[in-house]
Assembly symmetry: none
Homo-oligomer: 226 residues x 2
DNA sequence: TCAGGTCATCACGGTTTCATCACATCTGAG
DNA sequence: CTCAGATGTGATGAAACCGTGATGACCTGA
């Protein structure tokens, strides 16, 4: 399995622990980022849009781990693994019912933690992309809830159809879609019209966002993103 | 969440433990079945076709938990949660790499176990997209959904007919197909044309992908992949 | 009403595909 | 070994397909 580029955020106030965990994650090809407090965690998570979060329950300050979990859960279904020092069961089950996907109790071994991370990600890898943000390339980010596409951080003016088309493609990333499928998904099943219409909008997207978004033409079939 | 009818098999030789777990699972609406040995486990799993398996590592008899896991994995991707008494880490990681999805260490609380079961099932419920990948050789992989063939990781530019032909052959791997069968499957039953057309496309495939994909000529008949 | 933007459609031209042909090479039965 | 039939291979012209600029209908807000 290749973890290259998979982003993990570590929320932990003890730098000894977080540094160690980061080291092991990076050794396995993950991109890991630290946050030392609950407040900082929310910022980093928003910024990095990680595929998984490692979350210390006993954070100092206003927001503890459970608070962070709740806040994150309002916006996304990203997997969360709790790290806890207190061994009582209430915390564990509570954590799980809160939407945590696993937990480890301190002291834990970094190797075990990494194994857990992989196990969870293996499950999640299904196209469950619930997060509203899609990284289409290094430069292009699509935000469904904001209904905005940014190129190098700058918002790009996309027409309604253009955005809908890109969003649909992003939601089916890696899947070759026929013009008919795209029309059904974006224009609606009952749409009657020329298949070639898709082409024109694809062209606009490529023109506005550049060719590096990876919107490939599948000859004789349709298009595929990613 | 409704667990009604979700089937769980408990593989555990200690009836005290398995009865307790079964009780808690049934309280939560699961349908739970027990197996007291590795041999029996395989029978019950085959019979009940569970959505999840709870598996004791330290089973007595010929087949221990790890053996059962391996055997099950040859046939299905059903989630497995290991129950283990030995607390050493090796077992844990080993278990995870074997394809286990989680584990608990004895003694565990039934409530915790049920919470884990739910957490795993929540993950699995996601509409698991079929991988649709064919490994044609060590170097060549065909991905149907992406409609892409990679040679040593690099995508190969295949024309529509070439891809369709290869996909059809891959879907009938190990079967010698006549030119007529290939034309019916790829070009369509109603296609009228020269049988030799197949030859030219086979040639293109061999040219682009190398001879090691194992696309054999069956003299006087047609072709066979693998 | 008008200006500006959106959007489906059209037509043209370049590119890719692909069935077929002709010839070379191979296979295996006798 | 010979030879007839089967398969491999390069070339080719036509058809299919896609990218692109233009056009006019339509909508919206000033």
């Amino acid at each position: 399995m290749s973890n290259d580029g998979t982003i993990v955020v570590i929320v932990e106030d003890d730098p000894n622990i977080s540094d160690l965990v980061e080291l092991y994650l990076r050794r396995d090809g993950f991109r890991a980022y630290q946050a030392e407090s609950g407040e900082r965690a929310l910022e980093v998570i928003d910024e990095r849009n990680p595929s998984l979060i490692l979350l210390d329950v006993g954070l100092p300050g206003e927001l503890d781990g459970l608070d962070v979990c709740r806040r994150v859960r309002t916006k996304s279904q990203v997997p969360i693994i709790f790290m806890t020092a207190r061994d009582d069961e209430i915390d564990r089950v509570l954590g799980l019912e809160l939407g945590a996907d696993d937990y480890v109790t301190k002291p834990f071994s970094p190797r075990e933690l990494v194994a857990r991370v992989k196990a969870i990600l293996r499950r999640v890898e299904a196209p469950q992309q619930e997060s509203s943000k899609f990284e289409l390339s290094d430069h292009v980010i699509l935000d469904s809830t904001r209904r905005e596409v940014t190129l190098n951080g700058e918002p790009v003016a996309l027409a309604t159809r253009e955005f809908d088309l890109l969003e649909f493609l992003a939601g089916n990333r890696g899947i070759a879609l026929s013009r008919r499928q795209l029309l059904d998904g974006v224009w609606g099943d009952d749409w009657i019209g020329d298949d070639r219409t898709v082409d024109v909008h694809v062209r606009q997207l490529r023109k506005k966002l550049g060719d590096d978004i990876g919107l490939a033409t599948i000859w004789g079939v349709g298009y595929r993103l990613g």
